[in-house]
């Protein structure tokens, strides 16, 4: 079982490292989008502090969305995906590896960079930590849900906008509880409920998304 | 009977715009869907008929 998982994970991380310039582009997109809002909303500190978590989360959703097509398209074009579908090990194994590699190369950097943006929005240290923790739990869910959309829209013209239409509505709950956890912490309600719910969401996504993506890939390659 | 005159019925207690706005759009969209359905049926049949003739011509040659 783990032969294919490890092989695909190591290879995808190696490929991510070799094309790290693209990853920096995706990361800079996240920073640029998040720093656009003050130009539209004004630089009043209280207002920015209020919308900060929400803005960072929306930017994280869009950054993940931008990086999703890359999860399968390179292997789809080169024919590697065909060979993977013919592996004797179940497709859930290597699909999970691809999703994990995608999160490590595009999702985790968002978590690492989020304190920088949180400072830009004037959040106090405690809020910065909560935001990073919420992103840490939330971004894997975004990658998992996004994987299903990426598999379904593989090889279609206009796949980018179609992918956004498919997966963004499904990501709204993660956005609600992710951004909500910072407000809950700030207002003293405590963030346990939010993080527990997101944890539950993460395990549900871990259980369902890989097999749904594998089924979608098999259908796409049919 | 709630209404003493047709005008009162249309006025709908001063909210006619909203009530008839809702019912009117609903009726319009339902009629539009039924019309689109019949057009879709006609277009599909014509297209399939042409495809059929195409197949018979191709297999005839």
């Amino acid at each position: 079982m783990n032969n294919a998982f490890i092989a695909v994970l190591r290879r995808d991380l190696l490929l991510a490292w070799r094309s790290r310039a693209d990853l920096l582009v995706a990361l800079s997109f996240f920073v640029v989008v998040a720093s656009l809002f003050p130009f539209g909303v004004g630089s009043d500190p209280d207002q920015l502090r209020a919308i900060g978590p929400g803005v960072v989360w929306v930017a994280a959703l869009l950054a993940t969305l931008l990086a999703l097509p890359r999860m399968f398209s390179q292997d789809f074009d080169s024919g590697v995906l065909e060979q993977l579908l013919l592996s004797q090990e179940p497709p859930v194994a290597w699909v999970s590896a691809k999703i994990a590699a995608h999160w490590l190369s595009t999702g985790l950097p968002l978590v690492v960079v989020s304190p920088l943006l949180a400072l830009m929005y004037g959040l106090e240290p405690g809020a910065i930590k909560v935001l990073a923790l919420a992103l840490l739990i939330g971004t894997p869910i975004l990658s998992l849900i996004g994987a299903i959309g990426a598999a379904l829209t593989l090889g279609l013209r206009g796949a980018g906008s179609l992918l956004a239409l498919l997966v963004l509505p499904l990501m709204v709950p993660v956005l609600i509880f992710g951004a909500g956890s910072v407000d809950a912490w700030a207002s003293g309600i405590g963030l346990r409920a939010h993080l527990l719910l997101m944890g539950g969401g993460l395990f549900a996504a871990l259980a369902l998304a890989p097999s749904a993506s594998a089924a979608a890939l098999r259908i796409t390659m049919d | 009977m709630n209404w003493d005159s047709f005008a009162a019925f249309i006025d709908m207690g001063g909210r006619g715009a909203f009530v008839w706005g809702s019912y009117g759009v609903t009726l319009a969209l339902i009629v539009a869907e039924l019309w689109a359905l019949s057009r879709r049926r006609r277009d599909t049949l014509h297209r399939l008929l042409r495809l059929q003739q195409l197949d018979t011509d191709r297999s005839a040659t």
Binding site: P173 | F18, L37
Partner: protein, 246 residues
């Protein structure tokens, strides 16, 4: 096992042909009775006056948009599970009508909200979930249209319908949580004490919408069946017969 007799496209094609007008008539009758009740039998509401009558199409539309999406997910599950092509045709035939009712629920909700709350859009929990459901419909329709190969389009549509259906309760409860967090408990559109005539009117209109959806779906599925099964002898004969008349 004659249950599967109806799952063959040919027999279902003729069955749908006989049932569609029947449900059409049922829908028309129920709608007239419902409209009579909503405008003439139901009394004026003490609080909202006459504008509450929008409820007689707003609530049925909202229900139908949900019921049809779940029906699409049901047919998708059967299609993926048993591989019966007809189930995919049903899911494809349901989508447009579901999206129509979803839009109508939003439209009538907004027109009702304006005089009642003062704004067309108040991020009420139910309306916000309805908006997200509309996005799920658009996503399903856009995906199935973007894929040329009909078989792949069916199965891809089935997967997104199932994934969407799994997410509906999650979306609904997270939006409800988010809404009560930011706005306190939202004014419940149907909170006003439901006089029995109002309830009956609404139920009849809901049944009318149900019958209408079935009739429209059956008609639409017939042309989908003809399109997909055109190579079979019976479908070719039917196309020659109907094509000449149409």
């Amino acid at each position: 096992m004659n249950l599967f007799k109806f799952s063959s496209p040919q027999t279902f094609y003729s069955l749908a042909g006989t049932l569609a007008p029947v449900f059409g008539v049922i829908a028309a009758v129920l709608a007239t009775v419902g409209l009579y009740i909503s405008f003439f039998a139901a009394p004026t509401d003490a609080v909202q006056g006459e504008v509450y009558r929008i409820i007689f199409i707003h609530v049925p539309a909202a229900w139908m948009s949900m019921v049809i999406y779940l029906a699409m997910a049901f047919w998708s599950a059967i299609g993926l599970g048993l591989g019966t092509r007809l189930s995919f045709y049903m899911a494809k035939a349901l989508a447009p009508t579901g999206a129509l009712f979803c839009f109508l629920a939003l439209w009538t909700g907004a027109l009702w909200g304006r005089p009642t709350w003062g704004t067309y859009w108040a991020w009420d929990a139910r309306m916000t979930s309805q908006l997200l459901l509309l996005f799920l419909y658009f996503g399903h329709i856009a995906l199935t249209n973007a894929i040329e190969d009909a078989r792949r389009a069916d199965k891809a549509g089935a997967i997104i319908a199932l994934v969407g259906a799994v997410n509906i309760p999650i979306i609904y409860f997270s939006v409800k949580w988010w809404n009560t967090l930011h706005q306190g408990s939202s004014i419940n559109l149907t909170k006003s004490s439901m006089a029995s005539t109002m309830l009956i009117g609404m139920l009849i209109m809901a049944l009318a919408a149900w019958a209408y959806s079935i009739a429209v779906t059956l008609v639409r599925v017939r042309s989908i069946i003809l399109e997909r099964e055109r190579r079979t002898d019976w479908a070719a004969a039917e196309i020659r017969l109907q094509g000449a008349k149409a």
